[in-house]
């Protein structure tokens, strides 16, 4: 089976080469615009050659390149996981493959942040240069048929114009930039990374990366969420949602005092945030500082907004503790 697939891939590569040559006549910017742009102007601050050290290789069993690619990415950050462990997390039996969203979701339970990269060749190269392997979705089919395949970009070399992939049964599949882009662009340049919570992808954008951490927080251990929010705040200290996330993670770890301190900081920067005030009042109340809690929750109650019902509940609980009727 894999021999056959390899054969198909070879043919696809030959065809890609033919298209590439044909493209050369009519301007290859149409077929491989990003490779073309990189050839014209290589970004000055991007290394000409890079290899992520210690990217493992898991030869893929039938159809299971999703689990294999995800395991490659996770294990390169020393997460103890094998493709077999991931079959139950990302493999969809009836489709005999893995969906992109599940590839993102599958890493979160391990306390890793999954981040979808911008649709950019340069972004992929920048991650590799920073030491992060990149999972890409390629299409080896010929129009109108598709053969979707996940691979991991582990290295590139500008002078040779090549990228190195962990792919299928090939530990080091070396292909030209042009062919890589040709097979990759059908997925709308889909690429993702999984990073440990104490690390930021180079191409991380504030709102997108925050969503990535919030999604991880649903299923990861609070320690991982705490580290991820703290790392995020190191880069974007003014983000109120991340402060609330950090406080919630501290709270989940039973560190109520720490949560309180984070929320005081957030309340100073964002006095208008009802959520900060509500959660702050709760942490104060939990520590038995009920009078203080009441002052804070009254500020939240005045502000109103979509969380008013929750605020009212919190206020009621605090008043009960004080032995007052509302």
């Amino acid at each position: 089976m894999s021999g056959l697939l390899d054969g198909i891939r070879k043919t696809a590569r030959v065809l890609a080469g033919v298209f590439f040559l044909a493209g050369g006549l009519s301007g290859c910017a149409l077929i491989i615009p990003q490779t073309d742009a990189l050839h014209r102007t290589w970004p000055a601050d991007l290394a000409e050659k890079a290899e992520v050290p210690g990217v493992p290789f898991y030869p893929q069993e039938d159809y299971q390149c999703g689990p294999a690619a995800l395991a490659t990415s996770l294990a390169s950050f020393k997460v103890p996981v094998t493709p077999d462990d991931l079959v139950d997390k990302v493999y969809l039996p009836a489709r005999q493959g893995s969906l992109q969203i599940e590839m993102l979701a599958g890493a979160r339970g391990y306390g890793m942040v999954s981040y979808e990269l911008p649709q950019s060749f340069e972004a992929v190269l920048r991650e590799v240069a920073a030491g992060t392997p990149v999972i890409v979705l390629q299409d080896y089919g010929v129009w109108p048929l598709r053969i979707w395949h996940y691979a991991v970009v582990a290295a590139y070399d500008k002078t040779k114009g090549e990228v190195v992939l962990r792919s299928g049964m090939k530990e080091n599949l070396v292909i030209p930039f042009s062919v890589f882009e040709y097979t990759w662009k059908e997925s709308h340049y889909w690429a993702m990374v999984t990073v440990p919570p104490d690390r930021l992808p180079v191409s991380a954008k504030e709102s997108d990366y925050l969503n990535a951490i919030v999604a991880m927080e649903r299923v990861a251990k609070p320690e991982a969420a705490r580290t991820a929010y703290a790392t995020f705040l190191g880069r974007w200290p003014d983000n109120v949602t991340a402060s609330i996330g950090l406080a919630n993670a501290e709270y989940a770890l039973g560190r109520v005092r720490q949560a309180e301190l984070v929320l005081w900081g957030a309340a100073e920067r964002h006095p208008e945030s009802v959520i900060v005030l509500n959660n702050l009042a709760q942490t104060l109340s939990d520590q038995g500082r009920t009078e203080e809690a009441l002052q804070v929750i009254d500020r939240a109650a005045e502000a109103g907004g979509p969380f008013a019902p929750t605020v009212a509940d919190t206020r009621l609980a605090i008043l009960k503790r004080l032995g007052k009727s509302p």
Binding site: G97, A105, L145, N278, Q282
Partner: protein, 119 residues
Amino acid sequence: MKSAAIKFICRILMVSMILLPFQTVYAGMISTDKVAAASAAQSERAAVLATITRADVSSQMQAQGLDPKLAAERVNAMSDQEVHTLAGKLDSAPAGAKNSGWAWAVVIILAVVIWYNWK
């Protein structure tokens, strides 16, 4: 065929399975994903919709060969936005590794190769 009543009970069970064991609720604390979704003004309505969509996607995943517990776990690892994106597209979204059309691809590619070699 399943009766409507059984289907209804299944839905209820699915929703409770998704919500009960995984969502840790702390008294009084507003969770981060609610904050992130707060820009959608009616957050309660959004939360109810999200719950229904999760149950839907979960049953769609069961139809793709997963057992109910696994399906619920996997849907739980997705954000609300991801669940929305995936709803109804499980059988058409790209699935890396194989496509039902591969056999045709092989036939066509072989035909092309043979035609080029022997023409």
